[in-house]
């Protein structure tokens, strides 16, 4: 390793430590039994991990795993659709000049100004009108549009796709959809990964939308499901250790996803395509 890399590495590791410590708490707390949770020191490992896992699985005949499957569906399908819609829209906004481009972009971004807390109830009333409330669609459809992703896609497309390449393709007679598939999307690889990852995590951890939309507890995602274990009403005890264990288990697929996707950040596909 060349010298001089020590300071940046140390800085990064410090940052990593700062970020990891509270996450570490979740991991350690999940190993504690009920008796240990409020009595032992925060980072002292406990003896209850197996007990917690089996209690969580046994809770209401394993509904936790149903919730995890639901969440995978909402997040996987939702993020995939969202990435598709955002990337195509971002590409169009970045690489074409057309009437209304500025207006449409401003409108899309303006959507961010209204907080989602506010939109949840009107969205629910709207979907109830068409009978889609309390269905999987009720959570999927509103999750697809994310103006933030579109903005991201726009700047990634602008940075990663050289106009000259598109011109070359057009001169060769390629159609726009062909160009999109063959030229634009591969170049936007790292950007698409980021957008997918963000939207996946956002939907995975989204609470308010599914909370309002879903009445049937078999359709709950993890967030809403774990919430019912935590906020148990005035007269029932909260199942703290199940909630913490559930939260820990909920983080694991996200880590796995991150690890799988991160190899896409290493490729520099822009290299060599325009040079002679």
């Amino acid at each position: 390793m060349k010298k001089g890399g020590l300071a940046p590495t140390a800085l990064l590791l410090l940052g990593a430590l700062y970020c990891l410590l509270p996450v570490g708490w979740v991991l350690v707390a999940a190993t504690k039994s009920r008796a240990e949770l409020f009595t032992s020191a925060a980072f002292a490992p406990g003896t209850g991990l197996m007990g917690n896992l089996s209690d969580l699985s046994a809770y209401r005949d394993g509904i936790f795993w149903r919730w995890m499957l639901n969440t995978a569906l909402y997040a996987g399908l939702g993020a995939a659709l969202s990435t598709g819609v955002s990337v195509v829209a971002g590409y169009a906004l970045a690489k074409f000049a057309f009437r209304g481009r500025g207006l449409m972009f401003n409108i899309l971004i303006g959507g961010i100004l209204v907080p989602s807390v506010v939109l949840a109830i009107p969205q629910y009333l709207l979907l109830s009108k068409v009978g889609l409330a309390n269905t999987y669609w009720a959570v999927l459809l509103p999750s697809i549009l994310n103006p933030y992703s579109i903005y991201l896609a726009r700047i990634y497309a602008a940075a990663a796709i050289p106009d000259a390449l598109l011109e070359a393709g057009r001169i060769d007679g390629a159609g726009e959809t062909h160009l999109l598939r063959v030229v634009a999307l591969p170049l936007m690889g790292p950007g698409m990964v980021t957008i997918f990852l963000f939207q996946f995590v956002a939907i995975w951890n989204n609470f308010l939308l599914p909370f309002i939309m879903l009445a049937d507890d078999g359709k709950f995602p993890l967030t809403v499901g774990l919430y019912t274990l935590l906020v148990t009403g005035a007269n029932q005890p909260a199942l703290y250790n199940l909630v913490i264990t559930g939260a820990m288990l909920s983080i694991i697929p996200l880590i796995a996803l991150f690890l799988t996707m991160q190899r896409y950040w290493r490729t520099d596909l822009g290299d060599g395509s325009v040079k002679s």
């Binding site: 209401r60 409108i107 629910y124």
Partner: protein, 429 residues
């Protein structure tokens, strides 16, 4: 550019209005006969197992349970669903939320079906589902009479007797805190308006009352002021704990003997065994300290079961609710599986063996029933959440600044009155 944007905004508003227009205007729906499928929203555990027993015996009335989260958001979710026409047939409704549900026209008046169950419940509890009118909006399911939970071993260690009056409570608090400044006799909670309501009920308060066709708001009546002043004094002296309850810190304090007592309700054993397992067998109950005169107590929490106004099978829903809350077999299951303290008198008689956690107090349930008999409630108004939210804000500040609790109470009263005036409710002068 500007006119284009304006056009877009206007069309959005118009479309929105269209949606809105279609949403309102729910007439009483056609009632179904024949086999029906009822949905039931509740947060009590294991209700689906209990519903299975009903379903087996009643093939024509099938009940599907959907377990929700409790708390404020549960009520908001129900009201939103009712507004959209998606309300469940049967809903668990906390007593303090029931008037708001009635005001929002979200629950039905079923005096025809429920009145015959009146004899099963005490008058105090029954008034919580009639709101002092001659309608009946639900059946009481459980109740939360308040009593004092205390650490028997630590009381002996610190040399204090179980306080019989609030004055004795204050002296005991002083004594304990003087011996060890990290230990408190008990705590004041600025986050639990229901707790404070129960203590005010014990003192004889009436926060809302119906006089004729108007509401009378009395949050700062003399009884409540007495309670507020008392606790304000204790907090100012620094002899009671003021930390937020239901936090890890508070659980730790209960576990480690930093809190010697907890003025709580009959459902506390579940909470204590879950959050303070180290104290098993060391706690006991006694009636709350008294203000003098007759023995009295109040209620903290408790819910009823109501039928949605939009339900298409109200009679059948009422049948299930009546069975669940008055049938001895059903109540036995409620006690064992749902950890419910039944509001019905017959249900309370089913409780004989003390909870595990209180294995040291064999007559736990006898005491609880006696105390429950002395508990009184008051009518809840149509904007309890406004009052409760104001309580938290006002008393959070008062605890922080150790300022006058009577003032905090008055600001809570004023906020409640102002909100009712703004909404157009008729207030008695």
């Amino acid at each position: 550019m500007l006119s284009k944007r304006l056009a877009i905004v206007v069309s959005a508003v118009l479309t929105g209005a269209l949606v809105a227009g279609c949403t309102s205007g729910e007439q009483a729906p056609q009632q179904q006969t024949g086999p029906v499928d009822l949905t039931f929203w509740t947060w009590a555990p294991n209700m689906d197992k209990i519903a299975e027993v009903w379903n087996a015996a009643h093939p024509n009335i099938h009940v599907t349970v959907s377990k929700q989260a409790g708390g404020d958001e549960a009520a908001a979710k129900f009201l939103t669903a009712a507004k959209a026409g998606n309300a469940p047939d049967i809903v668990q409704a906390e007593y303090q939320m029931l008037p708001s549900f009635v005001a929002a026209e979200a629950v039905a008046d079923l005096k025809g079906e429920f009145s015959k169950a009146k004899a099963e419940f005490s008058d105090g509890i029954w008034s919580l589902v009639t709101l002092g009118t001659d309608a009946v909006y639900g059946l009481p399911q459980d109740s939360g009479p308040m009593m004092l939970y205390y650490r028997t071993d630590l009381f002996t260690q610190y040399g204090i007797q179980v306080p019989k009056t609030w004055a004795e409570y204050a002296s005991a608090a002083r004594a304990v805190h003087a011996k060890d400044s990290t230990v408190y006799l008990g705590g004041f909670s600025s986050k639990d308006p229901g707790w404070f309501a129960g203590l005010s009920q014990q003192a004889g308060a009436n926060w809302w009352a119906i006089t004729g066709d108007a509401w009378k708001v009395g949050i700062n009546d003399d009884a409540s002021k007495k309670v507020a002043d008392f606790w304000g004094g204790l907090v100012k002296e620094g002899i009671v704990d003021t930390q937020a309850q239901w936090t890890p810190e508070w659980n730790a304090a209960l576990n480690n003997g930093k809190l010697l007592s907890w003025a709580s309700a009959v459902w506390a054993p579940g909470v204590l065994s879950s959050n303070a397992p180290n104290g098993k067998g060391k706690w006991a109950i006694a009636p709350l300290p008294q203000w003098g005169g007759q023995q009295a107590s109040g209620f903290w929490g408790g819910s009823s079961m109501a039928v949605a106004a939009g339900s298409k099978a109200k009679k059948q829903a009422a049948e299930f609710i009546t069975w669940l809350n008055t049938d001895p077999k059903a109540m036995d299951m409620l006690i064992k599986d749902a950890a419910v303290y039944p509001a019905a008198k017959k249900g309370q008689e089913l409780l004989t063996q003390a909870p595990d956690y209180f294995s040291n107090q064999a007559d736990f349930w006898k005491q609880a029933t006696t105390i429950s008999g002395t508990a009184r409630g008051f009518t809840f108004g149509p904007n309890v959440n406004v009052a409760y939210s104001a309580y938290k804000d006002a008393f959070d500040k008062a605890v922080q600044n150790k300022s006058s609790f009577t003032e905090a109470l008055s600001s809570m009263h004023n906020a409640t009155v102002a909100d009712m005036q703004k909404s157009g409710f008729k207030l008695a002068s």
